[in-house]
């Protein structure tokens, strides 16, 4: 018999198939094989992107020229634009506003074919440091209420360019999914005066069966209520609302756990496409960080979301997170 599991934070139910679980070999997924070609994110093509906003580069090299390690540019096709006023207004029963926000692209590495799992620890640390620096900078603009860091890797995950990159979007309102998590966490905090995520981590570390990796500062595990097969969460063990407040030591620990977790995932599923997103507390508002705990969610693209999920917000997970964790733990 399958099992219904309820997410303790947002209250979403998920159906986990515990009867006939799908093994890794049962998944037929769209493989991500880079084909190369002219790439605006490769060395020598810096002129193809908007000018850089920020960059880590070799001393003595000119901006918008080769010699960089991590490069941040404005998205050439931004979903939101930075100039102007929000101008929130009604239109009959509808509500709208101007599309104000920031949309930046962070090119993680000069190498066209290297995923994060292929980079050196030092390179990943630089990349994560840049994510933090950009978030700290965007936070200063008080029109923005939320910063979303996300990464689409592979065409199946919605990446329009092959060259590995991460995106940052600053939004003028707190998005629905974040609000749901915050409200759920707040309700739990009001009742128990504890952070629900801290309680979850405590239980995961005790149960152990869903934990993939652990180091001094971070833990990666398959969540008890996974929406997708082989979904993974990485949490800081210390309670903290904002990812951009990580110390240098924590950044190094995150780089290590992120690299190994992704390497394991890609060992089980060769040429996998995936998304990851960072959930962090809202900014420039009065939302307390005592009950919100930032984390990183990895969503492998192994299945397609269909009518049932769209209609209900109920998800079907064909591989239990316990089984997925077993495979991931075993992968070298």
């Amino acid at each position: 018999m399958g099992e219904l599991r309820r997410d303790p934070v947002v209250g979403r139910w998920v159906i986990v198939d515990t009867d006939h679980p799908k093994e890794p070999r049962d998944f037929k997924y769209e493989q991500n094989v880079p084909s190369g070609g002219l790439c605006p994110f490769c060395y020598g093509n810096e002129f193809m992107t908007p000018p850089e906003i920020s960059c880590f580069r070799d001393p003595g090299t000119a901006s918008n020229a080769p010699g960089w390690q991590v490069r941040v540019v404005a998205n050439k096709f931004p979903a939101l634009q930075i100039e102007g006023d929000l101008d929130r207004r009604g239109l009959g029963i509808y509500d709208m506003s101007n599309g104000i926000g920031a949309h930046e692209v962070l090119v993680e590495t000069p190498y066209h074919n290297k995923d994060i799992s292929d980079l050196l620890p030092q390179e990943i640390e630089n990349y994560l440091k840049m994510c933090c620096l950009r978030a700290v900078d965007l936070k200063k603009d008080n029109r923005f209420k939320y910063i979303m860091v996300f990464r689409n890797y592979g065409a199946a995950a919605g990446a329009s360019l092959e060259h590995p990159h991460t995106q940052l979007v600053a939004l003028p309102m707190v998005p629905k999914n974040a609000l749901e998590e915050i409200h759920g966490a707040q309700a739990y905090y009001n009742y128990r005066e504890r952070c629900i995520f801290c309680d979850m981590l405590r239980q995961e570390l005790q149960d152990k069966e869903r934990v993939i990796l652990e180091n001094k500062y971070f833990i990666s595990f398959c969540p008890f209520v996974s929406r997708f097969p082989f979904e993974i969460m990485i949490f800081p063990k210390q309670h903290s609302g904002y990812f951009c407040h990580m110390s240098t030591e924590e950044i190094a620990a995150l780089a290590q756990i992120l690299k190994t977790t992704l390497a394991k995932l890609k060992k089980v599923f060769v040429n996998l496409s995936y998304n990851y997103i960072i959930h962090s507390a809202p900014i420039n508002g009065d939302i307390g960080v005592e009950y919100y705990h930032w984390h990183l969610e990895i969503m492998p693209k192994l299945t397609q979301v269909a009518g049932f999920e769209w209609g209900t917000g109920f998800y079907l997970d064909p591989t239990s997170p316990e089984l997925a964790a077993q495979y991931l733990k075993a992968a070298e």
Partner: protein, 341 residues
């Protein structure tokens, strides 16, 4: 300038992107590959390959699970939820668990190997729509169940297995799903404030503004929603207020069949047979819960949401629940209005 628009019912924001300035015709797809119909388990004569039927429309002189039917309902071959057993709701530390009790059925819409519902006759589509209502009514008798979702996955990009034989699915769940609850709560909030149905207001506004209306006949309107999540997303709403799909009369179902066929044909002709999902949004079973369903007859309005699968949902959407729609719904409505059927 891009626009942020808010869904008036559940409060989801979407970004209507203008930067890439894409045109509707850029979403026209490639024709679908043909497959060998001999391998199809849903065709007439293959009844032995499926689980025994739960419901069928067939002449008196034909035998159960034999040929001669017009429409068949069978349990899913790989069901996620099962009819047998108890729920046993229980806790596990901070988590909540219960057994996977429910129902998962497949409606085989025709005995012929036809892929798209749009290509069936109005009469056949009416039979499908009647069958949905019959199955929901039957499942309501099971007191463990709270909601039935009727949906269709058409084409590989929609999450379908890829067998090109027209069918839809019903999943009955023992809890009210989150997305359904949000919509009900949003509609109720609007009603409490205005004492009007938000969907009725939406229809009125759309019919007076006209720019997002695709079709308007036989008591139904098809519109592209103001805060569309996807390009060419289309909703079909009955003009007559009613919260429950099963309550509409036979005449209305015939009309709905005509409207649904017209919308699906416009998508098919205009975009070269795109993959799509559709979902019927209807009121849950009103099980006894004192006062809880008091206003649902007035505040909620059943409807169908059609989502062509032309773009991929990526990290941003998963992370935020904010959608980026690359094309204004006014443009897609105009494009679909002009497609001849």
């Amino acid at each position: 300038m891009p626009e942020l628009r808010k869904d008036p019912i559940i409060g989801r924001w979407v970004i209507i992107s203008t930067e890439r300035a894409r045109r509707p015709d850029q979403f026209v797809g490639q024709p679908k590959a043909q497959e060998d119909p001999k391998a199809c388990p849903f065709c007439e004569g293959k009844e032995a390959n499926t689980p025994p039927e739960i419901y069928a429309l067939r002449p008196r002189n034909s035998t159960r699970n034999g040929p001669g039917w017009d429409l068949r309902v069978i349990p899913s071959i790989s069901p996620f939820l099962r009819v047998e057993g108890d729920l046993e709701r229980r806790g596990n530390g901070v988590y909540d668990v219960m057994n996977g009790v429910g129902a998962h059925e497949i409606v085989i819409e025709t005995n012929q190997h036809i892929a798209n519902l749009a290509d069936l006759s109005e009469e056949q589509i009416t039979r499908v729509l009647n069958c949905y209502a019959d199955r929901i009514t039957d499942l309501e008798k099971d007191s463990r169940l709270k909601y039935v979702l009727v949906f269709k996955n058409y084409g590989k990009g929609s999450g379908s297995t890829g067998i090109r034989h027209a069918r839809s699915q019903l999943i009955a769940t023992p809890v009210n799903p989150k997305r359904v609850k949000e919509e009900l709560a949003g509609a109720r909030l609007y009603y409490e404030y205005h004492e009007r149905c938000v969907f009725c207001d939406l229809i009125k506004q759309e019919l007076s503004q006209k720019e997002r209306v695709i079709l308007d006949f036989d008591g139904f309107v098809a519109v592209t929603p103001f805060a569309a999540r996807f390009p060419f997303e289309t909703w079909i709403l009955p003009k007559q207020h009613c919260c429950d799909y099963t309550c509409i009369d036979a005449e209305s179902r015939k009309n709905l069949a005509r409207v649904l066929k017209a919308v699906l044909l416009k998508l098919k002709r205009g975009l070269n047979d795109p993959d799509y999902n559709y979902v019927i949004h209807t009121a849950p079973f009103r099980r006894q819960k004192v006062g809880y369903w008091k206003t649902i007859d007035h505040d909620y309005h059943w409807h169908i949401e059609i989502m062509p699968r032309l773009t991929k949902v990526a990290g941003f959407e998963w992370g935020t629940g904010f959608y980026i729609c690359p094309l204004p719904p006014e443009d897609t409505a105009k494009f679909l209005r002009e497609v001849e059927i």
